[in-house]
C-alpha cells in the first residue's frame, strides 16, 4: 500500500505550518521526515491522521483519493500512528487500551476483550515482544508502552505506520530494538513514516529522507547524505555539530555531595546516598535514562526538594537546607528541566522574566519600587548578548520560540555571580541551531572556570560536552567514567549493566 500527499497546506492564523507539501511513501519502505521543531512535521502527520484538517491538499491511499477528517477515517484507510506522547489510557490494562474504539460486544452487552488478549499475545510472539495483555499501562516502562502502541496499529492492520519522534523517550538499547522492529515491519510490507530530528537514526534505517523546513519540503535525499549536510539543510545554514571543547586545567572541587539522598512525596527514596565532586572548570555530566533520579538530584541541589539527607558543600559551605533564594544567591545557576513550567512565568514579559531572581535588588529595586526603566534597559543588553530573537522585551515570554525561551532562562541564570551551573536537560526539545548555542554557553562557563553539572538523557550531548560522566541508575551513581567512553559502553551503563572495562 502506498500513501501520497499532494499540496497539503495548513495555516494557523498568519502562520503557515505546512506550505503545499507533496510526499509519497511506498509499501515496504521507511520514509524519514527530518526537520527542526516547529518545521511542521507533526502538523503534517496530524493532518494525515485526521486530527487536524488541512486548508487544502489531497491524500491518496493506493492511488485513491481519501477524505480523512477524523482519526477513524485514517484507521479504516489503514493508517496507524504511534504518537510522540503515547495515546494510551494510563489506568487501563494493555488489552483494554487495545479494544478501546474497536470494542466487541458479547452476551448481555458485556464487553468482550478475550479476542484482543489473544491477538496481543499472537502479535507479541510474531515480533518477539514480551507484552502482558493484563498489565496496567502506567506500570510499564515507556519502551513497552510504545510497543503497545505498535501492537495496536498492527492488530488493526495498519499498512502505513506513522512514528512521530518515537526515539525521544527511549534508552539507546530501546532505540536499537525499535529500529530493528521497524526493519521487521518493513520486511513484512508496511510503509513507515519516521519522524525525527536525530540524524544518526535516520541514516541507520531510512530508505528515503524528506527534509522539511518552515513548512516546506526543502529536499528529498538519500540516506547516504552526510550528517553535516542533513543538519544544514534542516536549519538552513552551516551548523557546527561537534562543539569545540578545549582541554584545560581542571581546578579544585567546588560542589561536593556526601551521601546525598532524596525521597519523593510518597516516601520512596529516589536518590540513594550519592557522592560526587564537581571541580571548577569541568563539565560533569549526569547521564541516565529518564526517571532514574536525575531530576530529583538536580532539584535537590537548588533545594527544591523537601526530603533531602546528606551534605552538599558549595565551595566548602553547607548549602543543603538553604532557601531556594539563598541557594541561588550562594552562586548556583539553575536551568530547569521544563522551561515552560519551572523556568519562566509564561504570562510575564521577557524583561520581567529576565529579573525574576534579582527583582528585589539594586539597580532594579529601590525601596519598594521596581524601576521599569532599568529593567527594560537591562533586558535590552541581555537580548543583544544572548542573541534572543524577539519583537519587544515587553512582549509576554510565551510568544517566543522554544530556543529563545531557553536563551531567556540562561541569560537570567548567568547574570548572577555564579560558581556552579546546574543544567537539567538544557537542550530538550530544541532544534539544531539552538542546541549549538546552548552548548557554546555551557562550554563558555566551563572555560571561565565554573563547575557545570549537566543532566542529560542525550548520549551525543553528554559525550560532546562532558569531561567526566556520572551514570545514574535507579537513584544511584553506578559509575563515573571519562568522556572517552564509547557510546555503546555508556548505553549499557545507562541500562544498569556495569562493565569492568568502562571503569576509569
Amino acid at each position: 500500500m502506498s500513501l501520497e500527499l499532494r499540496g497539503i497546506t495548513k495555516t494557523f492564523g498568519l502562520f503557515t505550518a505546512n506550505d503545499s507539501i507533496d510526499l509519497k511513501v511506498e509499501a515496504g519502505k521507511i520514509h524519514a521526515i527530518l526537520g527542526e521543531n516547529g518545521a511542521g512535521k507533526s502538523t503534517l502527520m496530524n493532518i494525515v491522521y485526521g486530527l487536524l484538517k488541512a486548508d487544502s491538499g489531497e491524500i491518496f491511499v493506493d492511488g485513491k483519493l481519501q477524505n480523512i477528517s477524523e482519526p477513524s477515517d485514517a484507521l479504516s484507510a489503514g493508517i496507524g500512528m504511534v504518537h510522540q506522547h503515547f495515546m494510551l489510557i494510563p489506568v487501563f490494562t494493555v488489552a483494554e487500551n487495545i479494544v478501546l474504539g474497536h470494542e466487541k460486544i458479547g452476551k448481555f452487552g458485556v464487553l468482550d476483550i478475550a479476542a484482543a488478549r489473544e491477538a496481543i499475545i499472537k502479535v507479541s510472539k510474531d515480533f518477539g515482544f514480551s507484552v502482558d495483555p493484563d498489565a496496567i499501562v502506567e506500570t510499564l516502562p515507556v519502551g513497552i508502552q510504545q510497543k503497545v502502541e505498535i501492537i495496536r496499529a498492527l492488530i488493526y492492520e495498519a499498512k502505513v505506520l506513522i512514528l512521530d519522534e518515537p526515539t525521544a523517550v527511549l534508552t539507546p538499547q530501546e532505540t536499537d530494538e525499535l529500529l530493528k522492529t521497524m526493519q521487521e515491519l518493513k520486511r513484512k510490507g508496511t510503509a513507515i513514516i519516521f519522524i525525527t530530528h536525530k540524524l544518526r537514526e535516520v541514516r541507520a534505517v531510512a530508505d528515503e529522507i524528506t527534509i522539511i523546513r518552515r513548512g516546506k519540503v526543502i529536499a528529498a535525499v538519500s540516506p547516504s547524505t552526510s550528517e553535516g549536510e542533513l543538519a544544514s539543510m534542516m536549519v538552513g545554514r552551516e551548523v557546527d555539530l561537534a562543539p569545540d571543547r578545549q582541554e584545560h586545567e581542571i581546578g579544585e572541587p567546588i560542589l561536593v555531595a556526601n551521601n546525598l539522598s532524596v525521597r519523593n512525596v510518597s516516601g520512596t527514596e529516589v536518590v540513594k546516598k550519592i557522592n560526587f565532586e564537581l571541580r571548577a572548570g569541568e563539565v560533569l555530566a549526569v547521564a541516565g535514562v529518564q526517571g532514574n533520579g536525575q531530576s530529583e538530584l538536580a532539584r535537590a541541589i537548588v533545594n527544591l526538594e523537601d526530603h533531602v539527607e546528606g551534605s552538599l558543600l558549595l565551595d566548602g559551605h553547607e548549602i543543603r537546607g538553604l532557601s531556594i533564594y539563598d541557594s541561588l544567591h550562594a552562586g548556583i545557576a539553575y536551568i530547569p528541566e521544563s522551561r515552560e513550567l519551572d523556568g519562566l512565568v509564561s504570562s510575564f514579559s521577557i524583561a520581567e522574566n529576565l529579573i525574576l531572581d534579582l527583582h528585589d535588588q539594586a539597580p532594579y529595586a529601590s525601596g519598594i519600587n521596581l524601576s521599569a526603566k532599568v529593567v527594560s534597559e537591562q533586558a535590552e543588553k541581555h537580548v543583544l548578548e544572548f542573541d534572543i530573537r524577539l519583537q519587544s522585551v515587553s512582549d509576554a515570554v510565551s510568544t517566543l520560540s522554544g530556543g529563545n525561551k531557553q536563551k531567556v532562562v540562561i541569560a537570567r541564570e548567568l547574570s548572577r555571580p555564579v560558581k556552579v551551573l546546574i543544567a537539567s536537560q538544557p537542550t530538550r526539545g530544541l532544534d539544531v541551531g539552538s542546541i549549538e548555542f546552548v552548548h557554546e554557553r555551557i562550554l563558555g562557563e566551563r572555560d571561565a572556570g565554573r563547575g557545570v553539572l549537566l543532566f542529560s538523557t542525550e548520549l551525543d550531548e553528554v559525550l560532546a560536552l562532558a569531561d567526566r560522566i556520572a551514570v545514574m541508575y535507579r537513584g544511584e551513581i553506578i559509575e563515573i567514567v571519562d568522556s572517552n567512553v564509547s557510546k555503546e559502553e555508556l548505553g549499557l551503563l545507562m541500562a544498569g549493566v556495569v562493565n569492568e572495562k568502562a571503569v576509569s
Binding site: 484507521l75 495515546m87 489506568v91 479494544v99
Partner: protein, 420 residues
C-alpha cells in the same frame, strides 16, 4: 537504617492508630468512667416481619463494655493485619461499628432505641445522596465536574412536586423529574463542553440560578395557590413478598417506595455499565485521557454531552424523592445542601459507584443517628450531634480511605486544537 514508609502505609498506620485509640477511649469513657446506670433497650420490630427477638434490653454499662471490647478486639486484628501488610478494611469497619454501638448504648441509657427504624431512616436519608452522587459520578468519570448536583436535585424536586400536584398522580411527577434534571444538565453540558466555561464556577452559578428560580415560583405560585400546585400525592410503600419479612433487613431494604427500588436498579446498572460495557470503557477513557480516546475514533465531546444528560436524568429521580417520594409538597430550598454532600460522598467513595453508595449510607446513618438521639432526649447538645456525621467523615477520609485519585481529565475541557 531508618525504615522508609510510603504515604499509603503511613495512612494505613494512622488509620489503625486512630481506630485503636478510639476503641480504648470508648471502653474507658462509655464503659468505665462515665458508664450508664440504667438499661438500654433496642427495638427490632417495626412492621409485620417475622419476629425472632422483639427487643433486647441490656445494662448500658455492660453493653458499652461488650461493644468496646469487640472494637478493641477488631483493632488488634487490624494491627496484626497491618503488620502482615494485608487489608485492614474489614477489621477497621468492625471496630468502627463497635465504637458506634458502644456510643449508642451508652447515650441511650434508660431509653428505648428503635434499632431497625434507625437503619431504615438512615437508608431513606441516603436516597437523594445516592442519586446525586451517581449523577456526579457519571459526569466526573467522563471528565466534567458536576457542582450543579444541588441544582439538579432542587429543580427536579420542584418540577415533580408541581406535576404530581396538577395531575394528582405521583407517577407523572416521577416521570417529569428526570426531564427537569436533564434540563439543568443541558445548561451544564452546553456551557462546559461547547463553550469551555470553568466548570466549578458554572456549576455554582447554575445552583444559584435554580435556587433563585424555585424560590421565586414558590413564593409567587406555590404558596398562593397551594391546593392546585403544591399538594402532591406520594408513593406508598411496596412490600416485596417474603423478602420484606426477613427480620431487620426486610423492613429496611424491602419495604420501601418505588423510588428506593429504582435506586437499587440504578446503582447496580451503573456499576455494571461502567466496568463491563463498551459505554463504560469509553466513558472512563474520556475522563482519563481524552486525546487518546479521540485518536482511536471516539467523539469525546459528544460522549461527554450524552453522559452529562444521563447524569441529569439520574439526579432527577433523586429530586423526585424529596417530593413524591417522601413528604409530598415542595418546600423552599428543600434539598438543603444534599447535592454538596452527594459530591462529598462521591469523592469519599473514590469515584466508584459502590464506594459512593457506602459513603452516602454512612452520611445518612450519622444524620439519622443524630436526629434519633435528639428525639429520644439524649443529654448531648444537639449541635454536637449535628457535627457527628462530619467528624465520622474526617476520620474515615484521613484514616481509612486509600489514595484518592480523581479521573485525570476531570474538569478539563477537551479541545482538539491542543494537539498540534
Amino acid at each position: 537504617m531508618r525504615e522508609i514508609k510510603s504515604s499509603l502505609e503511613k495512612r494505613r498506620l494512622r488509620g489503625v492508630r486512630v481506630i485503636s485509640a478510639l476503641s480504648a477511649l470508648s471502653m474507658i469513657y462509655f464503659g468505665v468512667i462515665n458508664a450508664g446506670k440504667e438499661k438500654t433497650t433496642f427495638g427490632f420490630v417495626i412492621n409485620s416481619e417475622w419476629v425472632i427477638m422483639k427487643e433486647w434490653a441490656i445494662s448500658a454499662a455492660t453493653g458499652a463494655r461488650i461493644f468496646s471490647a469487640l472494637s478493641i478486639l477488631a483493632s488488634i486484628v487490624a494491627v496484626m493485619a497491618y503488620r502482615k501488610r494485608s487489608p485492614i478494611i474489614v477489621p477497621s469497619s468492625i471496630a468502627t461499628f463497635g465504637i458506634f454501638m458502644a456510643f449508642i448504648t451508652w447515650s441511650a441509657s434508660g431509653k428505648y432505641i428503635p434499632f431497625t427504624g434507625l437503619l431504615q431512616g438512615a437508608l431513606l436519608l441516603a436516597v437523594p445522596l445516592v442519586f446525586g452522587s451517581m449523577s456526579g459520578l457519571i459526569c466526573e468519570r467522563s471528565g466534567v465536574i458536576n457542582i450543579a448536583i444541588e441544582g439538579q436535585l432542587l429543580a427536579s424536586a420542584f418540577v415533580s412536586g408541581v406535576v404530581a400536584s396538577v395531575t394528582h398522580n405521583p407517577f407523572w411527577g416521577l416521570l417529569a423529574a428526570p426531564i427537569a434534571g436533564a434540563t439543568i444538565s443541558f445548561l451544564l453540558a452546553t456551557f462546559a463542553i461547547k463553550f469551555s466555561v470553568d466548570q466549578v464556577i458554572l456549576g455554582f452559578v447554575i445552583n444559584v440560578l435554580v435556587i433563585g428560580l424555585t424560590n421565586f415560583l414558590y413564593s409567587k405560585v406555590l404558596i398562593p395557590y397551594q391546593s392546585t400546585w403544591n399538594t402532591s400525592p406520594t408513593f406508598g410503600k411496596i412490600d416485596i413478598p417474603i423478602l420484606s419479612k426477613i427480620p431487620i433487613i426486610g423492613p429496611i431494604l424491602f419495604s420501601q417506595s418505588i423510588v428506593v427500588y429504582l435506586m437499587y436498579v440504578i446503582v447496580g446498572g451503573i456499576t455494571f455499565a461502567l466496568y463491563k460495557t463498551k459505554w463504560g470503557l469509553r466513558t472512563r477513557a474520556i475522563g482519563e485521557h481524552p486525546t487518546a480516546a479521540d485518536t482511536v475514533g471516539i467523539d469525546v465531546n459528544r460522549l461527554r454531552f450524552k453522559n452529562v444528560m444521563i447524569a441529569g436524568l439520574v439526579a432527577g429521580v433523586g429530586g423526585a424523592y424529596f417530593t413524591v417520594g417522601s413528604v409530598g409538597s415542595f418546600g423552599k430550598e428543600m434539598t438543603a445542601g444534599a447535592g454538596f454532600i452527594a459530591l462529598a460522598a462521591l469523592i469519599f467513595g473514590k469515584w466508584s459507584p459502590i464506594g459512593a453508595l457506602l459513603a452516602a449510607l454512612l452520611f445518612g446513618f450519622a444524620d439519622n443517628l443524630q436526629s434519633t438521639l435528639t428525639i429520644i432526649g439524649v443529654s448531648i447538645p444537639s449541635e454536637f450531634m449535628l457535627m457527628a456525621p462530619y467528624i465520622a467523615t474526617i476520620i474515615a477520609v484521613t484514616g481509612l480511605v486509600g489514595r484518592v485519585r480523581a479521573p485525570a481529565a476531570d474538569g478539563i475541557p477537551y479541545l482538539r486544537g491542543g494537539v498540534h
